[in-house]
């Protein structure tokens, strides 16, 4: 009996093992000039009006009217030039030689239809652009009127969700079939269940036709899986593998890892309506107490850079004269004492009028750097005698708690150039009317931002923005911690990839190809 049972068992086991071995397949690899990208988000949607970052920056299917240089200055893209006719009217002249992937020409009517469609779908586009009407004056001239004077209209028309698609992208009920754009690649196939996209190159592209014959995007939201898939060779290119894997991946033969910075800043916002944050000396003390170098090195594994002001260096309007608050625990302690906070009862926590300084820092887990960064700040504040409690929650829950006014500090990774404008970020975060949550009121800042938003001359806009940044450094209503890093990991054979800091995660270009 024993023998027969163990026999059955061994047969089962062996057949199981054989069956598994039998299914082994090699990694998918098509022609030489093809690139497989491991996308970092789940792909819900390929509608450019909602997920333009994907269709414009990653899949290279769509393009917008206005382009940007790596320093965030605007440059022509589908629009060859634009001018402001009066405070609310703009004229955009389209390039002549552009065709959609369906063979129809890019003309003013097409642009009008595409912009109006995007506005109807995504309410954010209206708030960026303030468009009231779009008119096709002739074949190549588009006249855009805004509801309010908006000197950031060209910048907001760079935003990927306004990227232009042909009318044949939708069916007769207005439902999206697939985005048909003007970009260097055409969408061939999209699998909504997995989020996999397959593109082939657009041989009629108005710019340089890509050497890559095909481009494939696979949604791999798990960072560890992305790293493993790259190592295995299932993908050629990805970004943001786990930060602690970077060093190991770099040593794997045939892979290269690049650390870049993007226009996003890790910041701590404080409830300025309440003590102790209404005291400038306390805010400065806290800023001096944060060892940004150590956070970048130990928490972000070098993926990022210590922050000085709100904008990272290299952006056209970054005030490069800012000094920031370099780590200085003595100065921090001194400032706290000046503000009347000292450890009078010897429990290691500073107090004032018998009230110990115990504060809560909220943050969210969606950006992997945030929770450990909060813990690092907690430890650094402890040296200063501040008891910091960290709370990790969903980001929407965090903003809801803050909006109710009962909060101390929150940490987030805030995009500083959702649209490439020197005023956009300042306006959303520091203008008293727009961000009531942190309670920052400075009429000078408000006035300068107002001026910056209406100014026509780009250089003047940049200067106004720099002035605001200087005031923000003096008043420290928000503590900048680090500039957001993007780790790009790819096969060594991937050629000509140049990181573009204006990308929202990473941006491919028609120049990328495979080394022969």
């Amino acid at each position: 009996m024993r023998r027969s049972l163990s026999m059955v068992l061994s047969i089962l086991l062996v057949s199981l093992m054989l069956s598994t071995v039998g299914c082994g397949v090699k990694a998918v690899s098509s022609g030489n000039q093809s690139l497989v990208v491991g996308e970092i988000w789940k792909i819900n949607n390929i509608d450019p009006a909602m997920n333009g970052t994907l269709t414009m920056e990653k899949a290279l299917i769509t393009e917008s009217l206005v382009g940007t240089k790596p320093n965030f200055e605007l440059e022509p893209c589908l629009a060859a030039e634009w001018k402001r006719i009066d405070s609310n009217t703009w004229q955009f002249t389209l390039r002549e030689d552009v065709m959609f992937h369906d063979g129809t020409p890019l003309n003013a009517e097409a642009v009008k239809w595409s912009l109006m469609r995007a506005i109807a779908i995504n309410p954010q586009i209206q708030s960026f652009t303030k468009i009231s009407t779009v008119e096709a004056e002739n074949e190549r001239t588009v006249v855009i009127r805004t509801t309010n004077p908006n000197s950031d209209l060209p910048a907001s028309l760079h935003y990927s969700n306004t990227s232009i698609i042909a009318k044949s992208s939708v069916d007769k009920d207005g439902k999206l079939i697939k985005p048909i754009g003007t970009g260097a690649f055409k969408l061939e196939q999209f699998d909504l269940s997995t989020g996999d996209m397959k593109m082939t190159r657009n041989t009629d592209y108005w710019g340089t036709v890509s050497k890559l014959e095909s481009l494939e995007i696979r949604a791999l939201p798990d960072p560890n899986t992305r790293a493993l898939a790259l190592e295995k060779g299932e993908i050629d290119f990805t970004c943001d593998p786990p930060y602690n894997e970077l060093e190991r991946l770099e040593k794997v033969e045939g892979l290269k890892v690049e650390l870049n910075k993007t226009a996003r800043t890790y910041i701590i916002e404080m409830n300025l309506n309440e003590a102790p944050f209404n005291d400038l000396r306390v805010r400065k003390a806290m800023s001096y107490a944060i060892d940004r170098e150590s956070i970048v090195k130990n928490v972000l594994f070098g993926c990022g850079a210590p922050a000085i002001g709100p904008y990272m260096p290299g952006m056209a309007w970054t005030n490069e004269n800012l000094k920031g608050y370099p780590y200085n625990p003595e100065k921090a302690k001194q400032l706290l004492t000046e503000a009347g906070w000292s450890d009078s009862d010897g429990d290691g926590i500073v107090d004032q009028n018998g009230q110990a300084m115990k504060i809560t820092l909220m943050t969210y887990p969606q950006r992997p750097g945030l929770p450990p960064m909060a813990e690092a700040v907690q430890a650094q504040f402890k040296n200063l005698g501040i008891e910091l409690k960290t709370e990790i929650m969903d980001s929407t829950a965090m903003s809801e708690i803050a909006s109710k006014g009962k909060w101390d500090m929150k940490m987030s990774a805030f995009a500083t150039a959702m649209i490439p404008s020197p005023s956009y970020h300042l306006n959303t975060l520091y203008y008293s009317k727009n961000n009531k949550v942190i309670g920052y009121h400075n009429s000078e800042v408000d006035r300068l931002i107002d001026e910056c938003m209406v100014a026509d001359d780009q250089q003047e806009k940049y200067d106004l923005s720099k002035q605001v940044q200087q005031i923000l450094e003096d008043e420290e209503p928000v503590i900048p911690i680090a500039y957001y890093g993007v780790a790009v990991a790819m096969k060594s054979k991937v050629n000509n990839f140049v990181f573009n800091p204006t990308a929202h995660d990473y941006m491919l270009t028609n120049e990328v190809n495979i080394k022969e």
Binding site: M1, S6, Q126, E400
Partner: protein, 316 residues
């Protein structure tokens, strides 16, 4: 019997409606205002601050200013007519999205339950028969390991060994049979361990019954006793557990779906909950509650098949 089935099906409808009311209520209780959450997840980006105009637009578009009971009633009215509405995030009909994801979930659930049974049943029987031998200890310790191993860890381990090391299977994705193996093994390990322990203890209990002694006294072969007399009775509790496991699996398995980029229903549901994509969540819950209730009904019916003493629909 038929009366029993009809009764149970009617109860299923009640369960499903109750589940949908609960989900709807809980979704509105979770922190984060609904229009702001939808805006952040579907339109403006997670960290952006929505403007008043954007909030008003979304509130009106999805009728979020109506009282809750009215919103629910609207949804129910449509759902009864077979229209589950459109997802706010995907901008596509909920039914279509579920139709895309559910087959992958059923495939994964079915195969991993099958694989777990294939391992657990023979092992469980063997361990029971060879009680307290080296083999039994080995089996039980392995089961302990399998059940204690977090699935995300096992998943990465399997990828590192069988995908990176031996190049047998792809790391992730949903492309052909080979991509099924690792997710199936990951899920089957935990489930199989539970089933195996269940099988073993249930078998031991049955083997100590008098009728087994009688069978032995009659001089039957041990194999015959086990396969013909003991097994049928020992299966009953195992079937219950397996039914529950299968029902659970049909709800998707978020971790395995995330690690292996598997297009299942679990990740879809979780992401929709975060985004407060109410029609999508309601659709998923509807499907899960229905399948769970149906699987349980099938389990109950299978009792009658295995044990002639159990009869439904008759007062005893």
């Amino acid at each position: 019997m038929w009366k029993f089935i009809l009764k149970r099906l009617a109860a299923t409808i009640l369960v499903v409606v109750a589940a949908s009311i609960l989900t709807f209520g809980i979704l509105h209780l979770t922190p984060g205002s609904t229009p702001v959450t939808i805006l952040k997840y579907a339109f403006i980006g997670l960290e952006e601050i929505p403007t008043e105009a954007e909030i008003t637009e979304i509130t009106e578009r999805y009728m979020l200013n109506e009282p809750l009971y009215k919103q629910y009633y609207c949804w129910l009215k449509q759902a009864v007519q077979g229209d589950l509405g459109d997802s706010c995030v995907y901008k596509l009909p909920v039914a279509e999205l579920i139709g895309l994801r559910f087959p992958a979930t059923v495939l994964l659930a079915g195969l991993s339950v099958a694989l777990s049974l294939l391992m657990a049943i023979p092992l469980g029987i063997l361990c029971a028969v060879k009680r307290n031998t080296f083999f039994d200890h080995l089996g039980r310790i392995s089961a302990l390991f399998a059940v204690a191993m977090p699935s995300f860890w096992l998943a990465y381990l399997l990828i590192i060994i069988f995908s990176l090391g031996f190049d047998f299977f792809p790391v992730a994705g949903f492309r052909g049979i080979s991509s099924l193996v690792l997710p199936c093994v990951t899920l089957a390990a935990g489930m199989g361990a539970v089933t195996m322990r269940m099988m073993r203890s249930s078998m031991l209990e049955v083997m100590s019954q008098d009728y087994i002694l009688t069978a032995r006294a009659k001089g039957l072969y041990e194999t015959g006793i086990i396969s013909r007399h003991a097994l049928k009775n020992a299966f009953l509790p195992v079937v219950t557990v397996v039914g529950l496991q299968f029902g659970h699996m049909l709800g998707g398995s978020v971790i395995v779906e995330t690690v292996f980029a598997w297009p299942g229903i679990g990740k879809l549901l979780i992401d929709s909950i975060f985004a407060k994509d109410i029609p999508m969540v309601q659709g998923c819950v509807l499907l899960m509650a229905t399948t769970y209730a149906l699987v349980n009904l099938l389990v109950d019916l299978s009792y009658a098949l295995m044990d002639p003493r159990i009869r439904y629909g008759r007062e005893s």
